[in-house]
Symmetry: C2
Subunit: 449 residues, 2 copies
């Protein structure tokens, strides 16, 4: 697990077998690949871009080491000449991309890679692996933030994320999406994200009496205590928390909050709020957790349930109602010629492209138009920028906080109908006549072939 393995081998074998076939076919000309999502998962009307930083770091440092080459040689599939070529290979291409935190839609290019075809092909798997997953989670988390309607939301997902890298990227993507903190301490260290957490049920059950657990915790953390009150009986737990909260107040301290993690969460919040208020503890917050997702948060907001903040875990961290997106990375141009794929339900748009975003007078997003890279559409913003040239990152990338601000701004300008948690309206994405004509011309040529 801790062994440093060559990340360049984190690819599908077919990338390498194709590379050898390209090598021997002398197919080493320039290609452009385009990364996009073909369709929306259920209840999604937009996506949030995330994962680009990891991809650019990977491309900039791409180099097969001797251990990687030795392993490939052992497979008996590759020739000496090809392996020598592979060992000297670096990523020398250009990348155009949407920035992290940008909202995007179906069929829009997120990243376009232009390089000798072997290079762009070899890096496909890593690019999809990182951007599909991080964008999936950023999108899910953004929905939670929107549904929470101003209440803070904390990432509690680490134990149920799909492994270590997922735990780290979920913390980052959810912070990018507007979460206020994560429980993941390593993510706090690595990404500079605020960390949050107090106690679990095991802490309570390790004491003979629940109230002793509360008192013990308050003694150790007099300014940061949130008591977990549902271990045995939530209302009895709330009364004991209130008792300790009053003891703390008498010492000039303040109990920060109580957390409810099971049971009838809406009803319990109302009753617990009453217990706290009746004890003069109206400044003690109520945190809700336990299997929550954006659908619950939206319902609780509609019903004015008195939760002040939420811990959201498993369902966000695995995007449980849609654990993947139909993200693809397709060859759109080779040796100066635009190309496309016609497999049923999987048709791609040819050529290097650009996305043009049009806003109305109030700054709200109005519609997007996908066109060819060289086109210009007046009154629109061109969203893809050239982030890597000849294998080098062009300019310092935005910080995580800057990307978080970008998304927050974008989200406020997205039409409410598109942000709906269930059955959102489909945002308009059009294609320029030039792009449509190009696709038709290629299709016609393929039909005649």
């Amino acid at each position: 697990m801790e062994t440093r393995e060559p990340i360049e081998l984190l690819t599908d074998l077919y990338q390498l077998t194709m590379a050898q076939a390209y090598f021997y076919s002398r197919k080493l000309e320039t290609a452009t690949f385009s990364l996009f999502v073909r369709s929306y998962p259920a209840n999604r009307g937009y996506f949030v871009c995330a994962g680009l930083h990891d991809v650019l770091d990977y491309l900039e440092s791409f180099a097969m080491d001797a251990a990687a080459i030795d392993y490939l040689r052992s497979q008996g599939l590759f020739t000496h000449d090809f392996l020598e070529f592979l060992q000297n290979l670096r990523f020398t291409g250009d990348v155009w991309a949407l920035p992290e935190g940008q909202i995007f839609f179906r069929d829009e290019p997120i990243v376009e890679v232009t390089s000798p075809i072997v290079e762009a092909q070899l890096v496909e798997t890593f690019i999809i692996n990182q951007i599909n997953f991080q964008s999936l989670i950023a999108t899910k988390a953004c929905r939670c933030v929107h549904a929470a309607a101003g209440r803070s939301v904390v990432d509690f997902s680490l134990r149920r994320t799909h492994g270590i890298d997922a735990g780290m990227k979920v913390a980052r993507s959810s912070y990018l999406a507007g979460f206020s903190a994560t429980s993941n301490v390593l993510a706090g260290k690595h990404y500079g994200i605020p960390i949050s957490g107090t106690m679990a049920h095991s802490f309570i059950t390790s004491f003979e009496r629940e109230i002793d657990a509360f008192r013990s915790y308050a003694a150790s953390f007099p300014d940061n205590a949130i008591f977990l009150i549902d271990t045995y009986d939530t209302l009895a737990g709330a009364r004991k928390a209130a008792e300790v909260g009053k003891e703390m107040a008498a010492q000039g301290r303040r109990l920060q909050g109580v957390r409810i993690d099971s049971g009838d969460l809406p009803q319990l919040a109302i009753e617990v709020r009453n217990i706290l208020d009746d004890s003069g503890l109206s400044n003690v917050k109520i945190v809700g957790s336990g299997g929550l997702d954006e659908y619950d948060l939206a319902e609780f907001d509609d019903a004015q349930i008195p939760y002040d903040s939420y811990g959201v875990g498993t369902k966000m961290g695995t995007s449980s109602d849609a654990s993947w997106t139909d993200m693809a990375y397709k060859l759109v141009e080779y040796a100066g010629k635009p190309v496309l794929k016609r497999s049923p339900g999987k048709v791609s748009w040819p050529g290097a492209k650009q996305v043009f975003r049009q806003r109305n007078r109030r700054g709200q997003l109005d519609k997007d138009t996908v066109g060819l890279r060289g086109q210009n559409i007046t009154g629109t913003e061109a969203l893809l920028t050239n982030v890597m040239k000849s294998g080098k990152i062009v300019a310092p990338l935005p910080t995580l906080r800057q990307s978080r601000s970008r998304l927050s701004g974008e989200l406020s300008q997205l039409p409410d109908a598109t942000k709906k948690i269930r059955n959102p309206a489909c945002y308009t994405v059009e294609f320029t006549p030039e792009l449509i004509a190009l696709r038709q011309a290629i299709e016609q040529k393929l039909t005649q072939a």
Copy 2:
């Protein structure tokens, strides 16, 4: 991404705040925590154990380095004395566990950790993170292997897994479950798993003519060619593949297979089989892929669709119909006293436990009984073994291939009704009278308190 970060911080903050509260309450006595799954996700009737090796490696090497301690100090939550205690902390406990590849059921302990409470508490997050995910995928992959009914299945999921660690662990867990290979080259190197892959649509579209792509690939891989035939028109693609297949045969080579990745997969397989057979290529295999899962594989088998093998990706690699299990790690004993939690829907069983498996005369699994660790039930096999003593692994762990064999054997002894892909029968798991009596006694005491 490549920075070596202290994995000991890959934990929830509350593990550390609780640890400090334990430290100051002088609650440093021995605790036992039990890992189990509370309920079955839809259509699941059993689970496959995976992830233990990573957990034992982690426990054996657990040590907070100076960078970890410095980061924790910077948070302003922890005292100097506690941080000093933490820096010297190692995992010194005992672990009882099911071996990898063991089939287990709801409510059964998978892992039990006994150590000073702070240690067992700090490692909770990592233990659940790894065993929940790897067992989830091993279970999903095992369902695919069962549904494929003897056809080989290859892991194609890397691009859509939830990050890097997930991609590696999916390859390993699916091989454990009986997959024949993975497309993930790094997993092949790291775990010694066979790797598999040939070409993508981009390879085809980079050539002017589809048949040129086939010929070029065959020239480079005369003994390992599987042509992807659905880029433009699958039946036309099959005819071109047959043409090149005959050319190869004339040179004494054999086309290994063709792959269909989109469209009406059952109908296309039938027609492609006819095209190949009519060309005298009845030994050329047909590989199916494109959004497949165990539900499709079972249908194809029922309808005798002529696929010879499958590539299974996204839906297996994200366990898309159930992206998590309700796996929990609960304190069951502290300072010699059994404890439990009573939160609604989340009741735990107290005490250190054992699982007793009973087989019928033909060796088929009959029923399991969960009892206390010290109990004995004649005619049954005790499934949990002591794999770690005082922080050290007791004996060499089984190899991946050994665990794969274990599962294959277990699966053949599991009743068919429990293995059904949809609505499986619930396997009988009972509890010993002693365990039931213990739980009742503690509940009664809690009610009186």
